[in-house]
């Protein structure tokens, strides 16, 4: 560590992210979820269990709130106090929002959760010491802690079942925090393949597990900095910008006909997941 590198380091790294910072290049993975298409069928959640070796904790531990679903479907009712919810329910798939300025990252004492160059909010299991501060500071509460040693003492995967485990994904032991990774194992594979061919990943070349199964195709996932990508186009169409906490939608009086929004944006975590508002017909 020489003082010169140090000073250079400072001059390079004195600006804040994502505002007044260079955008991620060549990748910034992001999502767009159309709540008008989402039917709340839970297929995404099950696919997540299958892809990411999530332990099934069982009834008792579920009752204690120790469930490990990285992707949960929330169901909301209208709050207008009518006898029946006659405009249906509202479903919301909630997973780690991969915030650009993630509240969880700054507070980890050992830096086990970091921001990756391709715009993910990474969780390094091996470095985690289980202080659980990240979860404490997560506004969305989408981080899940390994309260027990699911692989061994809890025997979540008895003989045969364990053969289903995805070798590309670590099986987490007790005492570490985990959360949705945007299926980083798939991203890394695609990225390195593309790199070896001297190109960047094409849109649609890589899918997250939830996106892949989503029956009505409500989930769009891709590279936000690639102007050709679906997700980029969707964000653009909704005039939602990554590094802003107030969007065109919020500014316009009486509502701009836009649907795109990000949850708890006012806290300025700059989430990477844009939701499209659910719509109900006014004619009926």
């Amino acid at each position: 560590m020489s003082v010169t590198t140090l000073l250079e380091g400072w001059s390079d790294w004195r600006h804040e992210h994502p505002i007044n910072d260079q955008p991620h290049n060549p990748y910034k993975w992001a999502m767009s979820i159309d709540l008008d298409a989402c039917t709340g069928c839970n297929a995404c959640s099950v696919a997540c269990y299958a892809e990411n070796n999530l332990p099934v904790v069982g009834k008792e531990k579920y009752a204690h709130g120790q469930v490990m679903h990285w992707l949960r479907i929330e169901r909301y009712w209208d709050e207008d106090g009518r006898e029946f919810p006659d405009q249906g329910a509202r479903f919301l798939p909630m997973m780690c929002q991969q915030c650009e300025a993630a509240p969880c990252e700054t507070v980890c004492p050992v830096g086990a959760t970091n921001h990756t160059p391709d715009g993910l909010n990474s969780q390094i299991y091996n470095r985690c010491i289980g202080s659980r501060y990240c979860s404490a500071n997560c506004p969305f509460k989408v981080r899940y802690f390994n309260w027990y040693d699911y692989p061994t003492t809890d025997n979540v995967w008895p003989a045969e079942m364990n053969q289903q485990l995805n070798p590309d994904v670590t099986v987490r032991g007790k005492g570490v925090m985990e959360k949705c990774t945007f299926c980083v194992q798939r991203l890394r594979e695609a990225e390195s393949n593309a790199k070896s061919q001297g190109r960047v990943v094409r849109d649609g070349e890589v899918q997250t597990a939830c996106q892949q199964v989503c029956l009505p195709g409500a989930i769009t996932f891709g590279n936000l900095v690639d102007p050709e990508s679906k997700v980029h186009k969707k964000w653009q169409a909704q005039q939602v910008e990554l590094a802003k906490d107030v969007q065109a939608k919020d500014k316009e009086e009486g509502g701009s006909k836009l649907r795109g929004y990000r949850i708890l944006e006012e806290l300025r975590p700059y989430p990477s997941v844009m939701y499209l508002e659910r719509v109900r017909d006014s004619a009926i």
């Binding site: 560590m1 590198t5 140090l6 380091g9 400072w10 390079d12 790294w13 004195r14 600006h15 804040e16 992210h17 994502p18 505002i19 650009e100 300025a101 993630a102 509240p103 969880c104 990252e105 700054t106 507070v107 980890c108 830096g111 970091n114 921001h115 700059y270």
Partner: protein, 176 residues
């Protein structure tokens, strides 16, 4: 000429002070009141130590050095680690965020200060010390002891002064 030690014990602190004063004013051959006289007391009372003449204390310079180096060390260690070994973007904050670094700098500033002060104390006070040839448990109880060292010749003069000032007891190093 060989040297010998004397320890005089006083339970009257004013007399003790007076004795010291006299020892310092009368010039005795083979006895240098600045070098050869040590006062031992059960409590800390500056007013009597004054008569020993001003003896400077240097601990505070250790403190200064310790505090400054502690602070600097902290800041460069931390900022250096962040900027060089650990350049990871976290929570949209700069790689080298000053406010948190200052917090730690502040802590290390104090840490260094305290540690080095203690070190300074041990050095300046000459601790851990060899036990001196003459000592009485009374000194740690309620009496003041005056330990002097002088040539054979001066012994009696000193004794005379002590007795004059109502020394309770005068211990003498076994002669040879």
């Amino acid at each position: 000429m060989s040297q010998r030690h004397l320890l005089a014990l006083f339970d009257n602190f004013d007399e003790a002070a007076a004795a010291v004063k006299e020892l310092r004013n009368t010039s005795i051959k083979g006895f240098d009141s600045n070098k050869d006289m040590i006062m031992k007391s059960p409590i800390e009372h500056p007013e009597i130590e004054e008569v020993l003449g001003d003896k400077p204390v240097y601990v505070q310079f250790f403190t200064l050095g310790g505090a400054l180096s502690g602070g600097l060390l902290a800041f460069f260690l931390i900022a250096g680690a962040q900027a060089v070994f650990f350049a990871q973007s976290k929570g949209g904050k700069p790689i080298v965020p000053f406010p948190p670094d200052f917090v730690l700098t502040y802590e290390m500033f104090i840490l260094g200060g305290v540690y080095i002060t203690i070190l300074g104390f041990l050095i300046c006070a000459g601790l851990p010390a060899k036990r001196s040839p003459l000592y009485s448990a009374k000194v740690s109880e309620d009496q003041i002891g005056i330990l002097v060292k002088s040539d054979e010749g001066a012994i009696n003069t000193l004794k005379a002064i002590f007795t004059k000032h109502q020394a309770l007891e005068i211990q003498e190093e076994a002669g040879k």
